[in-house]
């Protein structure tokens, strides 16, 4: 295929549009991703001397109990955070998907936590969760629970507390996606179901849920990636503690890389996070392709 002058001109014009953004994108995102796969096979410390060590970092990781704790905790966070946030955001969307006075205000209220500073929010929640004087435990004692949990000071309850705050913060965001999904379900379907004598629960089960199939799948995919990379919430709320009870993968990378200056080893752990998110994305790609056929 010969390149015509017009095609060449188009390519030139096209690139000229893309280049200002692409230059920054290539230098700051693409290049680091490629370099990651080199650094992970070296012992790179803060003085910037890289020595090729082959798979040593990965072997070390395999025997590193803290790494496995971080991975297990990340899975723990993910496995609770997803179903909780999914049901909370879908519930909110169903509640708010009608023309009632004040609904617009509620939608706004639900979304606001998502765009407020994590530093401020986690501190407020730590105060609310405060074991001795915090309002949450005061309330629990008031309703008759003599020994309420220690929340972020207890190894068993710190993760649930963190998951709760994560859900509280994000549900308004996913609610918006569900609201948009609900708008695409034709009203006639609900009419027809009603004529056929379906009760509200059946209408939800056989009209709403199938109609939200694509939205739900999409939401689950972003939530999965979001949960695997969870970081600032944990760093600010518990710093991974008490002990290692809330240590997650991203934080472990940060810890090894920026606190202990073991760039090589931290990069090897990064590759695990990278691989998990890639797998999720590839899975999403194939499911979407199947649906679009």
């Amino acid at each position: 295929m010969a390149t015509t002058p017009l095609k060449r001109r188009n390519a030139l014009v096209g690139w000229s549009f893309i280049l200002p953004n692409f230059a920054g994108f290539a230098a700051l995102t693409l290049a680091p991703v490629i370099v990651l796969f080199y650094v992970a096979f070296t012992s790179w410390n803060v003085f910037g001397k890289a020595r090729w060590t082959g798979t040593a970092n990965f072997i070390r990781m395999w025997h590193d109990a803290s790494f496995w704790t971080a991975l297990t905790n990340t899975l723990y966070y993910t496995s609770l955070h997803i179903p909780l946030t999914l049901s909370a955001s879908l519930g909110l969307a169903l509640l708010l998907n009608r023309s009632l006075r004040g609904v617009a205000f509620f939608r706004t209220a639900a979304f606001f936590p998502y765009i407020t500073s994590m530093v401020a929010l986690t501190y407020v929640w730590n105060m609310l969760f405060s074991p001795d004087y915090g309002p949450i435990n005061s309330f629990l004692r008031f309703i008759g629970i003599a020994n309420p949990p220690g929340w972020t000071t207890s190894a068993d309850w710190s993760m649930p507390a963190v998951i709760f705050v994560g859900t509280w913060r994000e549900m308004g965001y996913y609610m918006l996606l569900f609201l948009a999904g609900l708008q695409t379900i034709p009203a006639q379907l609900y009419e027809a179901a009603r004529v056929d004598g379906a009760n509200p629960w059946q209408r939800f089960l056989f009209v709403t849920l199938p109609g939200l199939r694509h939205t739900t799948f999409f939401v689950v995919v972003i939530m999965t990636i979001g949960s695997f990379k969870v970081f600032d919430l944990i760093l600010l709320m518990t710093e991974g503690g008490p002990g290692q009870s809330t240590l997650v993968l991203s934080q472990y990378i940060y810890q090894k890389g920026f606190v202990e200056n073991q760039f090589g080893y931290a990069s090897a752990v990064s590759i695990v996070l990278f691989a998990i998110c890639c797998l999720v994305t590839i899975f999403q790609y194939f499911v979407n392709r199947r649906w679009n056929d």
Partner: protein, 274 residues
């Protein structure tokens, strides 16, 4: 009719409980910021401060680098937003309105990186930035945030809804591609630009990890980083910390109040952020 009213009452009750649960932490933040420090944790709880301690807000400015932090954060947020909107909308035009070879593959590379968490490549990125002697400068955060794939994606989504005939007609009238971008497409995409600006502004304002890694010098700190340090230094000054928190959230609340519509449109049209 009667059943309907009962249902309505129930619905409102549900809504009010949900809203209270959502907003309670914010109420706690504001009311604690106006209390005397000893009154923050009391049993039973005081929902309204005895006396309103407005001086907490003066004290936080006096006791911390709040002025510097706010100035830095504002500088960063505005610069990043401008750059992201400019380069993002420009690149999106290339991806959506100019046909050339390799375009789709390139776009796929963009999209793929949206799904790759920053946490997984922050280490090599930091190494590269340090080699370029960019760490510990405000510029590092600008570079980090301004060229994201997100803006390109959001703008492209919007451009696709603008009919191709419009650009065709302009081409026949002899307008260059740059002319079409500047005079036709850009003016039509005001809502998308508003969405992108607000989302970028807010995420730069709230960013904690980028500044944590790159901005080590106290005179470069952002409000998030500064507040966090203040918390670790004065961790029993609850009321002051809450005043600082209110200050860090207030600008976002104001931006949000005026631009809610654009936030919602931006999020539902891309479904990606965070």
């Amino acid at each position: 009719m009667k059943r309907n009213t009962a249902g309505r009452v129930l619905l409102y009750a549900g809504l009010i409980i949900a809203a209270a649960a959502l907003l309670l932490p914010f109420y706690w933040m504001v009311s604690s910021s106006l209390k005397a420090n000893n009154d923050v944790f009391t049993i039973p709880l005081k929902w309204v401060p005895d006396t309103f301690m407005w001086r907490n807000y003066g004290d936080i400015f006096a006791k911390s680098g709040m002025t510097t932090w706010l100035t830095n954060t504002l500088t960063l947020s505005v610069t990043v937003t401008l750059l992201q909107v400019l380069t993002g909308s420009f690149a999106a035009y290339g991806f959506s309105k100019v046909r050339f070879r390799g375009r789709n593959v390139l776009f796929l590379a963009y999209i793929a990186t949206i799904a790759v968490p920053w946490q997984s490549y922050m280490i090599p990125q930091f190494i590269l930035m340090s080699k370029l002697h960019l760490s510990n400068t405000l510029f590092s955060i600008i570079a980090l945030q301004a060229f994201g794939a997100f803006g390109v994606f959001l703008m492209k989504q919007f451009y696709e809804t603008i009919p191709e005939e419009l650009s065709e007609a302009a081409r026949l009238d002899g307008l260059s591609e740059y002319g079409i971008y500047w005079r036709i497409i850009l003016p039509l995409s005001k809502p998308a630009i508003a969405s992108l600006s607000l989302l970028t502004f807010v995420s730069t304002w709230n960013d904690y990890l980028g500044p944590l890694i790159y901005l080590r010098k106290p005179d470069l700190w952002t409000v998030q980083l500064g507040l966090r340090t203040f918390i670790s230094q004065y961790n029993a000054e609850y009321a002051l910390i809450m005043a600082g928190s209110v200050l860090s959230v207030l600008p976002i609340a104001i931006v949000f109040l005026f631009g809610q519509r654009y936030f919602v449109e931006g999020i539902t049209s891309t479904g990606l952020k965070g």
